[in-house]
């Protein structure tokens, strides 16, 4: 009797899994997927990575990383914001990664995910939690609207250094995504 019950349960489980997966396949085949902002930035087309000889990188990620890199430089030299990013100046730490490399990677992941990339994940805190000193002891004070506006200004400068004009449609879309984070980041 116990063997029969177990067999029935196993069959039910297998049937359920098959139904769920087949249903999801049917629904995804039915409707075309709209292109994402990440697609506009180059998407998943693989290109040579200029920073790592012999390796490939998604064009979309390369575009994002280039803008992030330039923006990091602008922020690091901007006294109104660099106080929030002193970890940029740490030298080699865990896994022989510097503060610059860690911030570059995680900011790139964050922006890629926000732009619709599917091959990367951002495992950090939410923007609300990350900028709330009560939830994130690293934040030595709440960010102001002026801080956030300056961040957007530095991002615009960083994009410009990569030939992305502030009026380009992709940058306008990216700016809207960034601006949508203002109410989460600014908590004063």
């Amino acid at each position: 009797m116990k063997q029969v019950s177990f067999g029935v349960m196993l069959m039910a489980l297998v049937t359920t899994v098959c139904l769920i997966t087949s249903c999801s396949k049917n629904s995804s085949n039915g409707t075309p997927v709209a292109p994402t902002l990440y697609d506009s930035l180059g998407g998943t087309v693989m290109v040579s990575d200029p920073k790592n000889a012999g390796t490939m990188i998604e064009q979309g990620r390369l575009t994002v990383r280039s803008v992030v890199d330039s923006t990091i430089f602008v922020i690091a030299a901007d006294n109104s914001l660099n106080g929030f990013f002193k970890t940029l100046l740490t030298e080699v730490g865990s896994g022989n990664t510097s503060g610059f490399q860690a911030l570059e990677k995680n900011l790139t992941d964050f922006v890629c995910v926000g732009a619709g990339a599917k091959d990367f994940t951002y495992g950090g805190k939410s923007m609300v939690a990350a900028h709330d000193p009560a939830q994130n002891p690293r934040m030595n004070g709440k960010a102001s609207n002026a801080n956030f506006t300056q961040f957007e200004t530095d991002l615009t400068i960083g994009a410009g250094k990569n030939g992305v004009s502030s009026t380009a449609s992709v940058f306008v879309s990216l700016s809207k995504i960034v601006e949508s984070l203002r109410t989460q980041v600014v908590q004063q």
């Binding site: 690091a76 030299a77 970890t87 940029l88 990664t97 610059f100 490399q101 900011l107 990350a130």
Partner: protein, 144 residues
């Protein structure tokens, strides 16, 4: 009944031993992957030089050109308004403090390398993923 109890206890004991061994292996793996390591050829760091005198646009150009000419320097940005120059470099090729000293002597500029304190490094935005692995790694670091 006694027979099934004995089997159950054996299963529990073996499961416990296997689970314990897996946890030990996981801890060793996490420590091995996240332990501090020396820089290698692909490691790139950022350094900052603060100028103790006014910096004109022409000065910024000179500083930028000079820094780019140094072996091991990758990318440079000099902001004359904030009197700051930041540059990325390969630690295996060059020492940022040495670069700073050479810059001040060769370009005759009053400047010093800005190095944040330990306390300052604990603050600010790291944008670091705080995955479960990182939290466990952080715990292990307190032990090792």
């Amino acid at each position: 009944m006694a027979y099934s109890n004995g089997i159950f206890k054996n299963v529990l004991r073996v499961s416990g031993i296997v689970l314990g061994l897996l946890i030990v292996v996981l801890c060793i793996h996490i420590y091995w992957v996240t332990r501090p390591k020396a820089a290698d050829a692909s490691t790139i760091s950022m350094a900052r030089i603060d100028f103790k005198q006014p910096v004109t646009q022409a000065d910024a150009g000179r500083i930028t050109t000079w820094l780019y000419a140094q072996k091991g320097v990758d990318h440079v940005l000099c902001n004359p308004d904030s009197k700051i120059a930041v540059f990325t470099f390969y630690p295996v090729k060059v020492n940022a403090s040495v670069i700073t000293n050479h810059l001040t002597s060769q370009l005759h500029l009053q400047a010093e390398r800005y190095i944040p304190t330990e306390e300052e490094l604990k603050k600010g935005c790291p944008v670091v993923a705080e995955s479960y692995t990182n939290k466990i790694a952080g715990f292990l670091k307190t032990i090792f």
